[in-house]
């Protein structure tokens, strides 16, 4: 079977998983969510296989153009979510998160994204491609989880303020704490992959570890925003609404670093 067939099968499984998670939101039967989770896991396995096949066929890391890197980001987001879900036994974010993943997969499969595996331009021929991109995107995947749980926090909090009891036992406070956990995984990963590995590779390829290229600046901005999140939370004791707002803004900054910079601002990172 070809890589694109397996990719499509993974996509279909994610859609199926999302349907189960959505059904869980309405019926509150935990088995539905667990089924969704298992389907997502199978989707992830197939997706992994697709990425491996892609690597074998193209002979290079599976994130050198927009199609590949979107697919990888979707993969990493599912992985990050399943880890968080398994660790904290929460099912509700699944529906929303799967929707984000489906969005990423749909964008990857859209005709706008060229899917041909092209040979690598000289600048990308380095094992730092693997280290820099995979670790950064994994970090961003955890930011995506925090983004979803922060939005859910804002909804849950306003509902609880009105005196409504939290449904399905997932309190606003717990959502707040899960966001923090996701960020405390994402932040070190993003620092290592995005900034440290990025600087090492830049030094090896361009002879300078920092050149104030828009993508570099935006990853620094993203880093500053999450540093702000951590400091306001740990030192000043901010929690709740303001924390959630910073986490949401942080993910949007990460998304812009990943996506927006390529299309809206010109710079050295013109490959993907």
């Amino acid at each position: 079977m070809s890589e694109s067939t397996i990719f499509t099968m993974a996509f279909v499984l994610y859609v199926g998983s999302a349907l189960f998670y959505l059904a869980f939101l309405y019926s509150k039967k935990e088995t539905l969510a667990k089924t969704g989770s298992i389907i997502a896991l199978f989707g992830l396995l197939l997706h992994t296989l697709a990425l491996i096949l892609r690597t074998i066929q193209s002979g290079h890391a599976p994130f050198t153009n927009m199609y590949e890197s979107l697919s990888f980001l979707a993969w990493a987001t599912i992985l990050a979510y399943l880890i968080i879900e398994w660790k904290y036994k929460v099912w509700k974010p699944g529906a929303y998160l799967l929707l984000v993943v489906i969005g990423l997969m749909a964008l990857a499969s859209s005709p706008l994204m060229p899917k041909d595996a092209t040979p690598l331009v000289p600048a990308l021929q380095s094992y730092w491609l693997w280290l820099h991109v995979s670790v950064t995107l994994l970090g961003e995947a955890f930011f995506a989880v925090a983004f979803i749980t922060s939005i859910m926090y804002l909804r849950a909090e306003s509902r609880e303020k009105k005196g409504q009891a939290p449904k399905s036992g997932l309190t606003a406070e717990r959502l707040d704490s899960i966001s923090y956990r996701a960020i405390s995984v994402g932040f070190p990963l993003f620092t290592l992959g995005g900034l440290v590995f990025g600087m090492v590779w830049a030094y090896k390829a361009w002879g300078t570890y920092w050149s104030w290229d828009p993508k570099e600046v935006w990853s620094l901005i993203t880093w500053f925003v999450f540093a702000l999140y951590l400091h306001t939370r740990i030192v000043m004791g901010w929690k709740g609404r303001r924390s959630a707002a910073i986490a949401i803004f942080g993910f949007l900054a990460a998304l812009f670093t990943y996506f927006g910079v390529n299309y809206l601002l010109a710079g050295l990172h013109s490959y993907a």
Partner: protein, 451 residues
């Protein structure tokens, strides 16, 4: 006054405001293209262009004010870290034991149990239980009242300090790079040797190779370099993109390439009008006469133009440095006398117009032109870079300590009550409260069962 300054720099609020300003300023710098000419800004922004330049928005990250914010931010990090360090050190090295159970029972994680043991035995049991869970326990107290302080992973409280030290090392590296870094660019043709600016040694390009994929895309550029130090070749290495060469603190990067059309290799084909089978290929360079084998004839290319055009004065000239219309002024001589001369064109072999001293049967054609490729190497000496890597390592170490090595502390007060022991316990942790709570509860239930 001094106190106000100290308050200013020790305030976390100031740090947060500075962080927000840095975020906003950095965003601004990505919206305005950096480092363009004044003309471009005027075209793009009109009147605002001048204002942007005055406010240094056009070289924002190198501007005085951005640097000043970074400096204030660093100062804030240094002072905040120092101010918080001494209480932390005191907590780590000379912790205090509290004998009042009330102070223990205000903590968020807490419990109060009764143990059916005498205090001395109870203390031993508690110490054993906590020791099994890798807590280091300090004990203080008299016969009837004991205070225990159990902690593990105490290093965890210093995680954020280590992160800040890492950041400061990176900033110091950045300052050194900015002040003492040397950057340059060398354009080398094959077999050319050039001194490296400010280095005291030279570099020679032995060979430049462009490798292609089967579909014609470039796979790699390679420059085979020899470092010549003190008139002796000391180091030979092939430099490619992502694989630089370093020598005596200078690093050489493959950064570009091009073709030198000033003095290309020419291949001229000589035909005879009378003899269709006659064909001679002669390799030539401008200004270097070449004898034609079997004929009493010397060919000289006197001039080469890569993009031939006649200018306003009807003189041959070149439109560009690209080989769009390569042309050679060729001259044939026999015994010092000109036989023919004229321009020949690679793309228009029949267009030749020859001035002829005598009627000649020779017809020269420009068959091929090949420009020698040159390689552009970036040279850099960056004495700050090793500090950057040290800083990155310290930063990552600090982050792992801060996030994954959380200090846990349990304070216990044991009091004698009718031959048995009342135990009040409270726990403190900065991270992963749930996991700690679970551990705390399991310790307490184990102690309850102790007999």
């Amino acid at each position: 006054m001094l106190k106000a300054i100290k308050n200013f720099f020790t305030s976390i609020k100031v740090a947060i405001v500075l962080l927000i300003i840095l975020i906003a300023a950095s965003i601004l710098g990505t919206l305005i293209p950096q480092g363009r000419t004044g003309q471009e800004y005027l075209v793009r922004y009109g009147q605002l262009g001048g204002l942007f330049q005055k406010l240094q928005f056009t070289r924002l990250y190198q501007s005085f004010w951005y640097t000043a914010i970074l400096a204030l931010f660093s100062l804030n990090i240094i002072i905040c870290t120092l101010v918080r360090l001494s209480p932390k050190l005191r907590r780590a090295l000379r912790p205090k034991c509290d004998l009042d159970p009330k102070n223990v029972l205000v903590l968020k994680i807490r419990d109060k149990i009764k143990m059916s043991l005498a205090p001395a035995a109870a203390v031993q049991a508690v110490q054993a239980e906590l020791g099994r869970r890798h807590y280091r326990v300090r004990e203080q107290g008299a016969e009837k009242k004991h205070c225990l302080l159990a902690r593990k992973r105490i290093l965890g409280i210093f995680g954020s300090d280590v992160v800040h030290v890492g950041l400061l090392i990176i900033l110091a590296g950045g300052i050194i790079s900015g002040l003492a870094g040397v950057r340059g660019s060398l354009t080398l043709s094959e077999n050319q040797t050039l001194p490296v600016p400010q280095a005291g040694f030279s570099v020679r390009l032995d060979k430049f190779i462009t490798e292609f994929y089967p579909d014609g895309n470039v796979k790699d550029w390679k420059s085979e370099l020899t470092i010549i130090d003190g008139d002796k070749p000391v180091l030979q290495k092939s430099v490619e993109v992502n694989h630089p060469l370093s020598y005596k603190g200078f690093v050489f990067y493959q950064s570009g390439y091009g073709s030198n059309w000033e003095n290309p290799e020419l291949e001229v084909r000589l035909k005879k009008k009378s003899d269709p089978g006659y064909l001679k290929n002669i390799r030539l360079r401008v200004g270097q006469p070449a004898a034609v084998e079997g004929e009493d004839l010397t060919l000289t290319a006197t001039r080469f133009l890569p993009d031939f055009v006649l200018d306003e004065k009807n003189q041959p000239s070149t439109r560009s440095l690209e080989p769009n219309n390569p042309a050679v002024l060729i001259r044939g001589e026999r015994a010092g006398a000109e036989v023919f001369s004229g321009w020949i064109f690679a793309k228009f072999p029949d267009f030749a117009q020859m001035h002829q001293a005598k009627e000649t049967e020779f017809k020269p054609e420009l068959k091929d032109v090949a420009a020698p490729q040159y390689s552009v190497l970036q040279t850099a000496k960056d004495p700050g870079v090793s500090l950057i890597w040290v800083g990155c390592a310290v930063l990552m170490l600090g982050l792992s300590i801060a996030f994954y090595w959380p200090t846990r502390e349990i304070r216990l007060v044991l009091e004698e009550s009718q031959g048995k022991t009342e135990l009040a316990a409270g726990g403190i942790t900065a991270k992963s409260r749930e996991a700690f709570q679970a551990e705390f509860e399991s310790i307490m239930s184990a102690l309850r069962k102790t007999k």
